[in-house]
Structures are given as C-alpha cells and as structure tokens.
C-alpha cells in the first residue's frame, strides 16, 4: 500500500472509531435515562389528609373554616374564605419545596370555589417519566398529591373538598 493510501485508511479508521464511540455513548445516555427509580409517593397522601382536615377544622372566633365554607356558599361570597385559605396555605407551602397548592369545592362535579398558589412552579417538570429527557438536566420534579373529603351541607347537598399539593422530590 502506498504512503498516501495508508494515510487515507488511517483517517477513515479514526472517523470510524469516532462514530462507533459516539453511537455507544448516545446509547449509554439513553439507557441511563431509562433507569427506573421506583419510589412510593402515595404514602405521603396521609400528609395531605392531615393538612386538609386541619384546614377544615381550623377554629375561627366561634366557628370553623368548615362553617365559613357553608356560609360562603349560601351567601355566594367567598372573599373571606379566599383570604383565610391563602393565609394558611401560603404559610404551609413555599416556593422552594412545595410551590403548588390548590383547594377547591365541588357539588355534583361543579366547582363552587377554587383558590390556588401563585408560586412559580414552571421550572419543574411535572413527572418522573423516565423518557422525559429534561431529567438529564435536573433531578428535581414536582410530585403532586391530592386528598378529598366529602362534607354534607344543611340542605343535604354533598360537597367534595379537594386539596392538591405539588412538592419537589
């Protein structure tokens, strides 16, 4: 083989080697992304239950938040309930660890009130889906959990109160 041809073969070998290494590295990255990390988040539902039930039984002057909710519904005035809910949940949850909360009341699947956090949760991905390539750049994702209680109004209407929280895992 002439000198020039051997140089060409050498260059081709280097290019070939680079391609092979790149392909293996890409596949290695892909298989890392697909690594399954199992964790049981649903145990934390009991935490949300505590927060919701305590919210409902929070003592006001002579009544509770539960009573205020009923009065708000019949007077169609939710301002006091909104202020109170924001005061409570903005203290419990914060922008760093739990930037998402939402509380809503429904009767026959129709919302009669809904308040939520004004924290910025956009920087977190909402799932730990292993195929979410954003996970290459960050380990943090937002785990959402919710808890619901059924309460009965004086006219026997059944209302469902739901608290949802989103915390960084």
């Amino acid at each position: 083989m002439k000198k020039g041809e051997s140089a060409i073969t050498f260059v081709f070998s280097l290019i070939f080697l680079a391609i092979v290494i790149t392909i293996f590295y890409a596949l290695f990255l892909l298989s890392s992304v697909n690594k399954a990390n199992f964790s049981i988040n649903q145990v934390s539902l009991s935490d949300v239950n505590i927060n919701l039930i305590n919210y409902l039984r929070t003592p006001l002057n002579t009544t509770t938040v539960y009573d205020l909710m009923i009065n708000s519904y019949y007077n169609n005035d939710y301002r006091e309930l909104e202020t109170l809910s924001e005061n409570i949940f903005n203290r419990v949850y914060d922008n760093e660890r739990c930037p998402l909360w939402n509380i809503k009341g429904e009767i026959n699947n129709e919302k009669f009130f809904e308040f939520e956090s004004k924290f910025d949760a956009r920087k977190y991905t909402l799932s730990q889906n292993p195929r979410n390539f954003l996970r290459i750049f960050t380990d943090d994702y937002l785990a959402t959990r919710s808890s619901s209680f059924d309460i009965v109004f004086p006219d026997n209407k059944k209302a469902k109160i739901t608290l949802l929280e989103g915390c960084v895992e």
Binding site: I8, F12, V20, I23, S31, K35, I88, C98
Partner: protein, 158 residues
C-alpha cells in the same frame, strides 16, 4: 500490489464502513435492550422517613392529642418535649430529626442530635437521604386550640 488492486482495497474498505456502522448500531440496540430491565432501583429511604414522620402526628405515644379518642393531626402541646419525643422515636441511629413547632414563637427539638446537625449537608445526595415537610397542625394547649405549623426535617445516612 498493482494500482488496480490498491484501488479495489480502498474501495472495498469504503463499502464496508456503512455495513460495520449498521452492525455497531444493531449491537448497541441489543446492549440497550439487555441493560434496560436490569437498571432498576427501589427508593426505600424516603419511604421510611415518610412513615416515621407520620408517626409523630398519628400516634398518641408521640404528639397526637387524646381526649378519649386519638385526634390525628391535633398536637398535644404537653407532649412536645425532648423526653417524650425521644421515647416515641425509637428508630435506628442512622436517622436524625429536626422538629420545629411554629406558632407565634418557634420551638425546636432535635432527635439523634449528632446526625440532625448534619442537615446542612443534605445537598450531598450520595451520602444522605433527606426529607422536609411542613404540616398544618392544630395545637391543643390546655383548653385552648390554636393553629400552627410543624416542620419535620429528617436526614438518614446511606
């Protein structure tokens, strides 16, 4: 080697390159599929911390108020002391806990003090597993019921 033979050698080499690349891709995919089900891990440290954390609020031996029935989530203020919480938290010595009861003032209790002091090192996820959760709680203080927060920070050495 004559000129024709040299040309054929180089030409053949160029022809073989795509074939070898295809072979590498196929081998890579097989490798990828084989390793896929193997790379699984089960995170139990956080689960353990969550269950231990909930004990504080659900067990009457810890903080839950008892007025004939156990009121989970309502804290008996008289139970928030070092002696009672040390007794309630009979976990292994690898977990440290920092409890903050926040009303108009903040009361702090550390369990397994030496480990709890390492909470500042939670950024090191390789060596420590940490959880931090704030509960909205009601606090029964003699006859008075008031609202407050209970922050439970835990650290476990891996």
């Amino acid at each position: 080697m004559n000129k024709k033979a040299q040309f054929e050698t180089s030409h053949e080499l160029i022809i073989w390159i795509p074939r070898i690349i295809a072979l590498v891709i196929v081998a890579g995919i097989v490798f990828f599929l084989i390793t896929l089900p193997v790379k699984q891990s089960f995170e139990i440290d956080k689960l353990q911390e969550t269950i231990l954390r909930q004990r504080f609020l659900y067990s009457e031996n810890c903080l839950a108020h008892n007025d004939g029935k156990v009121n989970s989530g309502i804290i008996d203020k008289s139970k928030f002391n070092q002696k009672n919480l040390d007794k309630c938290f009979e976990a292994n010595d690898k977990i440290g806990v920092n409890l903050n009861l926040i009303t108009d003032k903040i009361e702090t209790i550390n369990l397994n003090q030496k480990i709890a002091e390492k909470l500042d090192f939670c950024f090191d996820k390789k060596h420590f597993t940490c959880t931090n959760y704030t509960y909205y709680v009601l606090i029964q203080d003699e006859k008075k019921l008031e609202s407050g927060l209970l922050n439970v920070a835990m650290i476990k050495i891996k």
